[in-house]
Symmetry: C2
Subunit: 321 residues, 2 copies
């Protein structure tokens, strides 16, 4: 096994994204493969192993790297590499670390996907310094990773960064967590699509429905974003509502943690200016001035590679122990 | 100057609280003196110096300690020991560290009062371990100090922990910071008194007014707490409102930071069960279950000595550099 090379895996509900990189985080080869989680845990584990082997081969290596970092959906225990629950994989109580170590005979480090995305942006992002960085992803749901004083902060129980469950509408709709008005019920791809579907149900949102090919089932956050980009007022209103809730949620982070950088990633953030402007408007209104003065809020500099490079970074850190 | 002894000062708007302690934080002598901030900066500096000398003498020392830690109201720059603004002292742009070093010829460490209270509870509090502790004070206003991964976390600009300006009522009343519905406008001694005065203005709150000696001007948070303890429904409603807002504010901390301990101090928290029960009710409703499971929310174990012992702890840390 190569000691000066590491592997990183970003394990998602729809795709496995694997890379082989050197100790400076330079990617030597990368591979994307569909997860096909429906085929079971063993199938997914086999696929992860296959992508690591293939990426190693494409990088011209005779063997696979000795250290593998993998980012997975949580909640999980990074110390034991144990996944408690990953709804989008259909997993519950999976000892990912030991299963992969057995299969590949390498050292495996498991991390929460949002935490590793934060680590990736912190280690390899193009932001020019600072020791505090908050990474927030707005996708199907929300995720958040905290780099504080130059280190990943995970909390007493590895459950820090639960941004999706910050209450932003005390009397809002019921969230899957049992609380009302959680940020995720307004600021997520799922919520954006839900708002548009509710309009369609009321016979409104005709331009959005048109953009979805005429079928209510075809409405996604991406469809709403496209309609907004074309100037549709109702789509713009949805993104305004989502952006303002997101800005309010971020104001809690900015007031409490006074970070120098907030990085926003995830599919829903691709909605562009209407969403970002509403977010910035509400954030500036709600966060105290002293904490806004030196703050920068920026899109992920590594695009959809934040998590992958975070997995690489975690493997590099493990290789140094 | 004694090298194995330190001094700590808790500088407040109404009193100066000074102690001399050994390197294990055991207090050898302590003194309280009124601040009398109205008499000017030089007067207050002279008084701080006098209390340090007197406490040293009472501890049986022939000279004053070589290291002095002092907690002061913020916003301030702890690196330079420079106070930007301390409204309750009437100070603006005061280089406290250099002024005190000149006056006393000892090494001075300046910290934000809420941060030092967090440090005091973390170093000397009776909680049995854990590496994350959030200290929240509910007094005239609010303050918050964060101990994360075993260290004081201050943010990019020494402005972390701005709990008083978390938005809890988006359309609420205007705060001095310019935002609406800040937590401090509901959860503070000032707010509790204001709610009761508003009732009196409307000809209501007769029991509270009675407890205040019949004069609206006499209504304080302490008066409201007393009326509530005697069973007055209107006073209980005020504390319920305050407690629930506080619980909502704490839920943001618990969801984002997953601490094992939240410590509540400050005069307003002395209102007792009606306030604490409402706080716990709302916190449990709003914070996610995984982060509540191992959380303990407790009153300050050091009483009104949290800040003083934090100042001592900061002097001990400085003496080790």
């Amino acid at each position: 096994m190569k000691e000066n090379i590491v592997a990183g895996v970003d394990l998602g509900g729809t795709k496995i994204y694997t890379a082989v990189a050197d100790l400076k985080g330079r990617i030597l080869a990368e591979i994307k493969a569909p997860t096909e989680a429906g085929k079971g845990i063993d199938f997914v584990l086999g696929k992860i192993a296959a992508t690591v082997k293939q990426a190693s081969k494409e990088a011209g290596l005779a063997e696979i790297p000795a250290h593998l970092g993998i980012g997975a959906p949580g909640p999980l225990d990074p110390q034991r590499g144990f996944i408690y629950q990953a709804p989008n994989l259909g997993w519950r109580d999976v000892p990912l670390k030991s299963l992969l170590e057995e299969a590949l005979k390498v050292n495996v480090t498991v991390g929460n996907d949002a935490n590793l995305a934060a680590l990736g942006e912190f280690c390899f992002g193009d932001f020019g310094g600072g020791s505090n960085l908050i990474y927030v992803t707005v996708s199907t749901g929300m995720g958040c990773g905290l780099i504080l004083n130059g280190e990943l902060y995970q909390g007493a129980d590895y459950s820090a960064g639960e941004i999706g469950h910050l209450t932003v509408e005390p009397d809002g709709i019921l969230c899957s967590c049992g609380n009302r008005g959680c940020l995720e019920t307004i600021a997520s791809g799922t919520a954006i699509a839900r708002f548009a579907k509710e309009l369609a149900q009321q016979g409104k949102g005709t331009d959005i429905l048109k953009a979805a090919g005429g079928a209510k089932e075809g409405i996604t956050a991406e469809v709403v974003s496209r309609a907004a980009a074309a100037g549709d007022r109702e789509a713009l209103e949805i993104l305004n509502k989502t952006g303002r809730a997101l800005g309010l949620g971020l104001s809690y982070i900015v007031n409490l943690l006074n970070p120098s950088l907030v990085i926003l990633g995830g599919g829903a953030m691709k909605a562009g200016p209407p969403l970002w402007q509403a977010m910035n408007f509400e954030l500036s209104r709600r966060a105290i001035k002293s904490n806004m003065d030196k703050l920068r809020v920026l899109p992920a500099s590594l695009g959809d590679r934040s998590g992958l490079l975070g997995a690489v970074a975690s493997a590099i850190q493990a290789s140094r122990l």
